[in-house]
């Protein structure tokens, strides 16, 4: 096909993207691979039109090819800096792939769409895309590869950071970090660095990596993220000035990782965290004492911080302006309103759905051939316990020789 580049153009013109989707897909992918730069606008238009009209049943026959076409679209749009142009078409592409599996399957197009959302600064739309629960992967039906999953987690986490949904960002970054791996890759390292900064903003400390993190990843991360570990140690001192000095002196490093903005957010989180700690110790406090305790310039600045924390639901308090005092309070929510009952119900429904899904996965694994073979092999060893020792002994002999 590569040799007949010129004829591809005319060939595509004679095919119908809706009726002959499969053929159109192959020819379009080849055409897009080698079309000269001047035709890129036309190629982008053809790809977008194809995605809109293609038949999902035919696309399902060649999912890797469709993934390849979507990656080409993403690359073309990035080279043309027309990021927003691809967001809706890739959304359609996700829908078409999911039509043949389910709305809970991850597709290669998810990562492409999220990347364009980030570049186009369309965080709200990215957030909407992330709202769909992802509970399944099927590389055969979707053409998904490991890299697509890692990128979904990394870009998704970054979008959540932009939306200030820090816990969700941490969860996605953690999926990337703990994903099974034979070696440390750049995406995992980048995810870990962002995870570290968001962890400081949300929890004031780095969370230890879970037990199921691949050993090679754990060792690799220690080596290449020293700046971030140093930042975490300084954070524990709650000294905003010291923290700012560190970030400024390592500006180039954070900038190279595209994490400078996030590092500044870490510094900015210190006064709020300090005020939060005061609420654990005091019932009432004067505004001037609060200001000096947290190294703010004036009681007026303290009031501003308090108001923004109350507005964001981070704390409950009342300011007595006349006395210049603030009284810290507990959450007045008594969990006895109909609105709260609706929230609890929604959580229960989600948990029920998740537990049904988990039961299904458990059944699938229990009847999986590979799993059953391994379990039987281990059971055989355990049943004949004495034989286990004999089996190991000869091996040990060879090891020492």
């Amino acid at each position: 096909m590569a040799k007949h580049a010129v004829q591809l153009d005319t060939l595509l013109a004679s095919l119908d993207p809706a009726l002959h989707s499969l053929a159109f897909l192959f020819f379009l992918d080849a055409h897009a691979a080698q079309a000269p730069r001047e035709l890129s606008d036309q190629v982008v238009g053809t790809i977008i039109n194809f995605i809109k009209l293609a038949a999902p049943t035919q696309l399902a026959l060649a999912p890797e090819k469709f993934a390849s076409l979507c990656h080409r679209l993403r690359d073309l749009l990035i080279s043309r800096t027309e990021f927003a142009r691809g967001v809706l078409p890739l959304h359609w592409a996700i829908g078409k792939v999911q039509q043949r599996c389910s709305a809970e399957h991850l597709t290669p197009q998810h990562a492409d769409c999220l990347q364009l959302c980030l570049l186009a600064k369309m965080y709200r739309h990215g957030g909407e895309l992330l709202q769909g629960d992802i509970l399944d992967i099927d590389p055969k039906k979707t053409g998904l590869v490991h890299r697509d999953f890692l990128l979904y987690c990394f870009y998704g986490g970054t979008i959540y950071v932009g939306l200030k949904k820090y816990q969700k960002a941490l969860d996605l970054f953690m999926h990337a970090i703990t994903s099974p791996a034979q070696s440390v890759n750049a995406i995992t390292v980048a995810a870990y660095k962002r995870h570290a900064l968001v962890s400081l903003i949300l929890h004031a400390q780095l969370s230890p990596l879970p037990k199921f993190t691949p050993g090679i990843v754990q060792r690799g991360l220690k080596a290449c993220c020293q700046d971030y570990h140093d930042l975490a140690s300084i954070y524990s001192s709650r000294d905003a000035a010291e923290l700012k000095k560190f970030v400024d002196s390592h500006e180039q490093a954070f900038k190279a990782d595209n994490n400078l903005g996030l590092a500044h957010q870490v510094v900015a989180s210190v006064p709020r965290r300090s005020i939060q700690r005061l609420t654990h110790t005091y019932l009432t406090l004067s505004l001037s004492d609060l200001a000096s305790s947290v190294h703010l310039s004036s009681p007026a600045e303290a009031e501003k911080y308090l108001l923004s924390m109350i507005a964001d639901g981070e704390m409950f308090a009342h300011i007595d302006q006349q006395a210049g005092m603030v009284s810290f309070e507990e959450d007045p929510e008594k969990y006895d309103s109909l609105a709260m009952a609706a929230v609890v119900e929604e959580h229960i429904q989600r948990s029920t759905k998740l537990s049904k899904k988990l039961a299904l996965v458990h059944e699938q694994i229990s009847s999986d051939r590979t799993y059953l073979t391994r379990v039987h092999a281990r059971e055989r060893n355990v049943r004949y316990g004495e034989h286990e020792d004999y089996e190991l002994a000869p091996q040990r002999m060879f090891d020492t020789m």
Binding site: R85, V87, A120, D320, Q322
Partner: protein, 205 residues
């Protein structure tokens, strides 16, 4: 779904569906970008920005401002004035917000949205003051509401705030927990019994 056009946006403003403006403009932006059309006019961007400010989505408002091409931003005084409102909201500078809302001579297409943003902002500020202050001076409260001290006093008293005769300080009204009407309650209770039965069934199996 029927295609979104610029007319859909103006129609929604005319119908006073202010909470839907951000969503409609967002969809219009995506569809226009996908079709390779030229950038949207500044009037639509202003309405989009105001829609987001109305919903309190300051994050997306900031990102929208960054997305709008420089060619559209620099030419339009109204769009820049809209952004000044957003900047003041981002900095949590209430006085600045009210000043920015009043400072510009808004066009007829945009004016109803600006009024809606002003109303919603004042309402949010009053609720914040009630949650945050046990006593507040009328002049301080006035800065949050974009009023003069003389205007603030009757305005808040009409909303249930009480003024202490000795100190002149205002106190917020005590909030009563709101519950739905009785008939609504019964219906909800029946539905809840049904749901509880389902949960117990699920837990048993």
């Amino acid at each position: 779904m029927s295609p979104i056009t610029q007319e859909s946006v103006h129609a929604a403003v005319a119908a006073k569906e202010f909470s839907r403006i951000a969503e409609i403009c967002g969809r219009l932006e995506l569809e226009a970008a996908a079709s390779g059309a030229p950038p949207l006019p500044a009037a639509i961007d202003s309405l989009h920005l105001l829609g987001l400010l109305h919903d309190g989505d300051l994050n997306e408002a900031r990102f929208l401002w960054k997305r709008i091409p420089a060619s559209v931003k620099e030419g339009d005084a109204e769009l820049e004035a809209t952004w000044r409102v957003g900047q003041a909201m981002w900095r949590r500078d209430s006085q600045g917000v009210h000043e920015a809302l009043k400072a510009f001579d808004w066009s007829p297409a945009v004016e109803p949205m600006v009024a809606a943003v002003a109303d919603r902002y004042t309402h949010t500020m009053i609720q914040l003051l009630a949650r945050s202050f046990s006593t507040i001076s009328p002049s301080h409260a006035a800065t949050f509401l974009g009023l003069t001290t003389q205007e603030a006093l009757p305005f808040l008293e009409a909303k249930g705030w009480k003024q202490d005769a000795a100190t002149d300080m205002l106190s917020p009204p005590v909030v009563q927990g709101g519950k739905g009407g009785e008939a609504e309650e019964e219906l909800r209770q029946l539905a809840q019994v049904k749901r509880l039965t389902e949960y117990v069934f699920n837990l048993e199996h």
